[in-house]
């Protein structure tokens, strides 16, 4: 299926715009992050002094940063595992041939269209310590009130729930697409061979879905590590006592609130390395077992 270009320069010329955009908006800033991570800088870089690896040393020896790393890992695990399981379950239900299926699907995708700020605000209302709907229900039916966002453990759970909800639509779309690509004849064959719905799912559908699951795993991981800071900012601002201070939020705070550009650059380098490593491990292990094409 390989097609040939008439000469060797044409493909390069066609790629040039993409490369140029990437260079300006990706490679150059990345290179700059590496450079700045060796400086102590303030005022958007108007003033800076060279400090070598001091930023890294401080980060690696800071108990706050260690805590932030642990919080991030819990947050990412929560978002990926809970998010993918719920999305898959919902996608299976939405994939059934029932009346109004299209409307259900549309409604399920809706949360994804909201901006993180709006999603955060909605959950802020639900978790409101005095008049939130969730607070009201726990008070009404169980007789207690929870300080959802001001109690350290609950706050982390709260932001995970919000982050999962926010990304449900995205995951469901891909799972639905994946499910609809599962060939009916294989399922039929399995059924004729006497496999029940449970077995059909685990032995046929789930393996055939593995490229989608794998893709979503990576995307959710990236979302949990990089994309969730808007929600955190609206809901908890990293608190209480840094219980929801994930790495990306800590970075955002240092750069844009604390004016510590060198420190923030060092953190972005660490985060970059971390995600590269996680993705490589993922490709090496699970990636091999992914079935492409049916």
């Amino acid at each position: 299926m390989q097609s040939k270009f008439p000469n060797r320069w044409l493909p390069l010329i066609l790629l040039l715009p993409t490369i140029a955009v990437c260079a300006v908006f990706l490679y150059y800033p990345v290179a700059q992050s590496f450079e700045w991570s060796l400086y102590r800088a303030a005022f958007m870089g108007l003033k800076r002094i060279y400090v070598g690896f001091q930023n890294y040393v401080r980060l690696f020896t800071s108990s706050d940063y260690h805590k932030s790393l642990v919080v991030s890992l819990i947050f990412a695990a929560g978002v990926v595992v809970i998010g993918l399981s719920i999305s898959l379950a919902i996608a299976l239900l939405a994939n059934r041939k029932i009346r109004g299926a299209r409307i259900y699907r549309l409604l399920l995708i809706w949360p994804y269209a909201l901006s993180p700020a709006v999603a955060g605000t909605i959950w802020l209302f639900l978790f409101n310590p005095t008049s939130g709907v969730l607070t009201y229900f726990t008070d009404r039916f169980f007789g207690f009130r929870l300080d959802w966002l001001t109690n350290a453990n609950l706050a982390l759970l709260g932001v995970i729930v919000a982050a999962v909800w926010k990304n449900l639509g995205y995951n469901i779309v891909f799972f639905l697409a994946g499910l609809q690509n599962v060939p009916g004849e294989i399922l039929e064959a399995a059924r004729i061979d006497g496999a029940g719905p449970w077995k059909c799912f685990w032995k046929v559908t789930f393996p055939l879905l593995s490229p989608t699951t794998f893709f979503l795993f990576i995307m959710n991981l990236i979302y949990a590590f990089f994309g969730a800071f808007g929600l955190i900012d609206v809901m908890t601002k990293g608190g209480p006592v840094n219980a929801t201070n994930i790495l990306i939020y800590n970075l955002y705070r240092d750069a844009f609130q604390h004016n510590k550009w060198g420190m923030a650059s060092a953190q972005s380098v660490i985060l970059f390395v971390l995600v590269v490593v996680l993705t490589l491990i993922q490709f090496r292990t699970t990636g091999r077992r992914v079935h492409y094409g049916a």
């Binding site: 005022f43 958007m44 108007l46 002094i49 005095t130 001001t150 601002k237 006592v241 844009f256 604390h258």
Partner: protein, 436 residues
Amino acid sequence: MKRFVLFALIALFAFGMALGQDKIKITFWHAMGGWRVPFIERMVQDFNLTHPWIEVTVEYKGSYRDTLNAALAAARAGNPPHIVHSFEVGTQMNLDSGIFVSLEELIDKYGLIVPWEDYIDAALNYYRVGGKLFCMPWNSSNPILYYNKTMLDAVGVEMPRKPTFEDIYEISKKLVEAKVAEYGITWPLHSWFFEQWMANMGVDLVNNQNGRADYATEINLLDPAAIEIMSWWKKLYDEGLWVNPGRENWSQARQIFISGQSAMLISSTSDVTRMENAAVEQGFELGTAFLPISSKYERHGVVIGGGALWVTGNHPDEELEAAATFVVWMTQVAQTIRWHQGTGYFPIRDSAVEILEKEGWFVTHPNHRTALDQLRETKLVTATQGALMGNFLEARTFIEDAIEAILAGTPIETALSEAKAKIDQGLKDYLELVGG
């Protein structure tokens, strides 16, 4: 003679119109969102109309932090806005960034007339560094206590005009025990209140005369006053008298008070108008009092919070002059009154207050009177002048972390000394960066 003056004016106006092509163009970035955006645009329009040779373009740039970051980035690219609206805690950073020029110097250089003696000292003092005024205080506010008088009447207590920590505790307890309100009091979990209490009790937040004699190198978080404040706060929280509306969550705090779940609220004076309207809607009587402080300390008053207008350097003379003219115009008596009535921020000039007084403004709005009296009774000491710290924003984060830790059960001294260590390190780093 009169006709001549009229003729001259018309000629001048026509001349101005003719010059329209060569208007001096300056830009103004501010950080006030919501309904204030059109309000400010309207003020700028009026300036442009009355100053036909100048054209000010105004832009809302998001939060104070975003505005400052955008201005710094623009300055780095060689094209900064002429006027930048910045907050009080950014003062030291702004000074050290090197992109701003002293407003007082500009005013002297271009011979603009500003009756400084008419401005309220407490407002100017914050921005006077090394004897020089760097920027024009614009939206000035500080914290006061709001209370639901209807609820207080129900338990038969009266709020003193200058309440103490002990008063607040007693009143809260009565209200909650009588089940009149679910909570006694609330305020956002924000470092600002802590800073205000320190100042009000006469304690400098940082050393070197609150960072005004020289760069600060240490924060006074282990001062007995700090421990006093946190013990009181913790006690209120532990006994269910104060409810935590969340970190820096102003709107949540207001909503808890307005909906009657708490009987008292400490918030900014810029909320007065909003609170008055809300009280009418909700059908309760609103009262205001001074910021409560510990009875063991003498009352020193409040630090002026809010924002100021800064002028950036590196522009041609005519543009700098136009920028200074605009900034001065924004605090003319007429604009000050309009600003106060429209937004609730302080009228920062004595003559503006006099006019408001004559118009009976304070009779119909007694709560604005409380706020203004509190400001005018402020003693001019370094504590109330406000702290200067290059890493103020980071310090706030650490102070808020400490407050959360204390509420969650960490011993007060432990949490405060941890925060102090981090902030002191930040002060040291900052000094190495800008001064070392």
